[in-house]
Symmetry: C2
Subunit: 199 residues, 2 copies
DNA sequence: CTCCTTGTTGAATGATCGCTCAAAAAAAAC
DNA sequence: GTTTTTTTTGAGCGATCATTCAACAAGGAG
């Protein structure tokens, strides 16, 4: 929003977005404490001083990585499907099918960054846990609406379904990390949709 | 099998099994590199020298932890259900329901050790990945038998089903780590069984 | 008792961890 | 030109990492 017209002082000698992308890839593949400052500076092509001047400390850089991921197609997967698909069924099918494709995208590390980038540090762990848990609430809200609108039978339980689809989604991320192909994950997605309550 | 009748030299001053259990808990909660030798010696109540004498290096200790877990009820979950339940349907239902209970057992850390104890180290990561992937093969074999015996329709695809149940199981582990209750996971397990092919 | 074997101890190893800082460098402002 | 602002550099900080080792302790074997 507020892009300063003229930047004073010495300009950055590196592409900030590219450096952030390199950091993202490392955290994605090796997790928070599995990625060292040395690994980062190497991959980003800068020295520690530049990293700390541009991104703050390791934790701040990680936060920025997570935020950028949230604004990427992979991070907006759920939001996009919710707003573009007409029915709840279509939305959840779209979410799982997109996840199958994105979790196996050869351009990025396998799986979901929020599931893959494990962290032992308590603060970081709870931060990511909250982000993962957020999908349950989002799912439940959409399913409740679907039931009110009659798309789902009155016997259907939005909370149970929300938990189920979250588990499938996170399980697909693990499978992708373990080498599952896009085809396998697509099949898993379709099988999961078989659990959609009959009218 | 070969328990030496008489032990020569100075005896261990600590309970080896208890120490291994303490190490298991740490690796389970914080992962491989998230657990330091200092953390381990503290929790096991021994000093580094004793740890290295009794278990070898960190990697060897981790291997022993994984092996012991594989012989525990949580690790033998799949094998037990396969051999005790009469039908494939009952076996897979049992696996998911037992997983729901064990992944939320308050006596142990949440989730499945093989899913939770993330590792950035390449060797350790592939070691654990292979163990996780093993369930897909086991599942597929049982499902193939079920189809041959007529329990599953000819149209059912054992490989797809095996991948699906593995994804659900690993997703349940992630959900447990994120705070899901036993009730939630049980509901997820039941919903997953709705994907079982109709005859 | 003396050997022999094994375990424990406490200190210390070099490597790597996240991180900092004074000095030099590159730009705009004056 | 000089000043001011910002970034880069390269060295280095203390802390922690996994690991080792000589000295000592505790048991069985002779």
């Amino acid at each position: 929003m507020d892009t300063p017209e003229v930047r004073r002082g010495r300009p950055l000698t590196f592409d900030r977005a590219a450096a952030l992308a390199a950091a993202t890839r490392l955290f994605w593949e090796n997790g928070y404490e599995g990625t060292s400052i040395n690994d980062l500076t190497q991959a980003m092509g800068i020295r520690p001083g530049s990293l700390y001047a541009a991104f703050g400390d390791k934790r701040s850089l990680f936060n920025e990585v997570i935020e950028a991921y949230g604004r990427s197609p992979a991070g907006e997967l759920i939001w996009a499907a919710m707003h573009r698909e007409p029915t709840a069924f279509d939305a959840f099918r779209r979410i799982l099918l997109d996840a199958a494709a994105m979790y196996t995208d050869p351009e990025t590390p396998a799986g979901n960054l929020l599931c893959s980038a494990a962290a032992a540090d308590t603060d970081v762990a709870t931060y990511m846990r909250d982000l993962r848990n957020a999908s349950v609430g989002t799912f439940e809200k959409r399913l409740t609406t679907a039931r009110q609108e009659g798309e789902l039978p009155a016997t259907a339980d939005p909370r149970k379904l929300a938990a189920f689809f979250t588990a499938v989604m996170h399980g697909m991320s693990q499978r992708a990390r373990d080498g599952a192909t896009a085809a396998e994950l697509t099949d898993t997605a379709e099988l999961a949709m078989d659990s959609w309550p009959a009218r």
